[in-house]
Amino acid sequence: MIDHKIKSKAEIRAEKLLPGNQDFTTITDDIAGVPEQKKTPIQWWLLFGLALSLLAIFAGSVGFLIWEGTGIWGINNPVFWGWAIINFVWWVGIGHAGTLISAILHLFRQNWRNAINRFAETMTLFAVICALVFPGIHVGRIWVAYWFLPIPNQMGMWPNMRSPLIWDFFAVFTYFTVSLLFWYTGLIPDLATLRDRAKTNLKRKIYGFFALGWRGGNRQWQHYELAYLVLAGISTPLVLSVHSVVSSDFATSVIPGWHTTIFPPYFVAGAIYSGFGMVMTLSIIARKVYNLGHIITLEHLDKMAQIMLLTGCMVGYAYSMEFFVAWYSGNAYESFAFVNRALGPYWWGYWAMIFCNVVVPQFFWFERYRRHIPFLFITSILVNIGMWFERFVIVVITLHRDFMPGAWAMYNPTIFDVSIYIGTFGLFFTGFLLFLRFLPMVSIAEAKLVLPESNPHHGHEE
């Protein structure tokens, strides 16, 4: 006999993740209510206006770049890779949290992900689009960017498939495509919900078109769930491979400071760290604006902070290991590269990175800070500032002083480096805000699975 006064584990978990008396109806109403709003909140319009202005700056700067060439950037000899590659790696890194949350946490049956996975997946899509802009525009002659692709052409020319830059192209392209498929597959049942609740014929037709005629039958769920599980399974090695491949752009070179085997795991940990930072920033804003504090709860923020603590410590370990190996290898160039990072002319970049990525997450050992929303908001932004500096340290500080002192130079970004970077925020937020306005930001079907009554065997299993 079950004593009904004793709550099952599933019920306790559900109370933390979905507090208050929520049932299937209220979950649908709360989540679907946001894209169905008649009146768009004023904050949305303000942010959207800002995002569009930044997008205009982006379009203007990229237009000028295409017209004039990459000479408008601050790149020089020896710093041939400047902000473009920094921003590319930074945005791809942010894009990692989406698939990590959707895929890896799905395989580990971490139900708490159900409130933030849609959010994180959407963030991934737009972050990867922003990332893909940079390799696209930095090639100089953009109109021949299709030379990346292994397609038959009249020149009889093929890309060098042994080059990490081509690996990178394949990895990021595959990552984007698989993330898009994963995101859309997750959306199908929710689009059907929006279709069935639509008040106007036009909305019903548009949502209905993308819902593909979903009718929630178990004969459909059966294949759907298997497809979703397999997507999660194949995305898990994929997400770990993407930043490993990005890191091999650096690690396969012979530059002191880049030529290390620690790069792939260190890049992946950093990517997850920054991605969770961005999910945190965005979800704190969205739960505030749309009053979804009972669906994206403190419990979720707490768990994200714990993952940031873990990955923050991993990158901290990597930073110290790099120094150790530089000393232990006895290689003069390698040792100099690292001393130059900490004490050279760009010392401030290095210490900004250490402060944001190693010192700041240490507060997350304490529950008080993991549940303090203003603190979380500020730290989540510091995390991404820190991760931007990490890539600055790796790219600029390493390149500006390599082997021969005669070849050393300082690097200064120009206004166009800055404007294109700022502009990608316009691209990112325009897309993201449109998503918030028209699509459910939390997976409606999956949020219900957190409720114990969604499992017909609950009460029997404990």
């Binding site: 292994p150 093929w158 890309p159 690996w167 929630g216 039958g217 178990n218 298997l226 994929l238 017909p456």
Partner: protein
């Protein structure tokens, strides 16, 4: 006016699973259980076989990997041998990454488009959409549908059967003509 089947509503996932077992045991084959989210244990309750989608994905993944490896080998050994720092033309360790990426890419296409194929979607017209109440199934309602194509189908018997096993809001699916 044509009829297409009968639907009946059940209150929660537990009732729906029990109803599915009874419908299965009564010998119906062309029926479905509709719910806002996937229900654990429903495949057994309905007597469904394991989805064959996994085999399709496996074949697609293998195709992707062979295509990736074959493409790189063909480019560098046959079509366009490029001598870069004297590295071997058939540099198979360097092919590992693109082989892997294409395996994942093809498997993902297999998973999503295979799921659509097995589910026969997109399909925008289906008899269940003739019912107005049925639209709540994507929010908070649980339905069993038995279609006219079932060999045991008899409208009156199906209606009383669904009523007996606890279904409410029993409705015959009819088009509007």
């Amino acid at each position: 006016m044509n009829t297409y089947g009968v639907i009946a509503r059940f209150n929660d996932p537990v009732e729906l699973v029990h109803a599915a077992e009874k419908v299965r045991d009564a010998g119906f084959t062309d029926f479905d259980c509709h719910s806002p989210f996937p229900i654990h244990g429903m495949d057994d309750a309905m007597g469904l076989k394991r989805s064959k989608l996994g085999y399709l994905i496996g074949v697609m993944g293998l195709t992707g990997a062979l295509f990736g490896f074959g493409l790189q080998t063909w480019i560098h050994s046959i079509e366009y041998p490029m001598n870069i720092s004297g590295k071997p033309f058939f540099a198979y360790p360097a092919y590992a990454i693109i082989t892997f990426e294409l395996m994942v890419l093809f498997s993902a296409f297999g998973a999503v488009f295979g799921m659509m194929y097995f589910n026969s979607i997109p399909r925008f017209h289906h008899p269940v959409f003739y019912s107005d109440k049925f639209s709540r199934v994507t929010s908070d309602a649980f339905y069993v549908s038995i279609e006219i194509s079932d060999p045991k189908y008899n409208e009156q018997e199906v209606k009383s059967f669904l009523d007996k096993i606890g279904g409410t809001d029993i409705e015959v699916l009819k088009d509007e003509n």
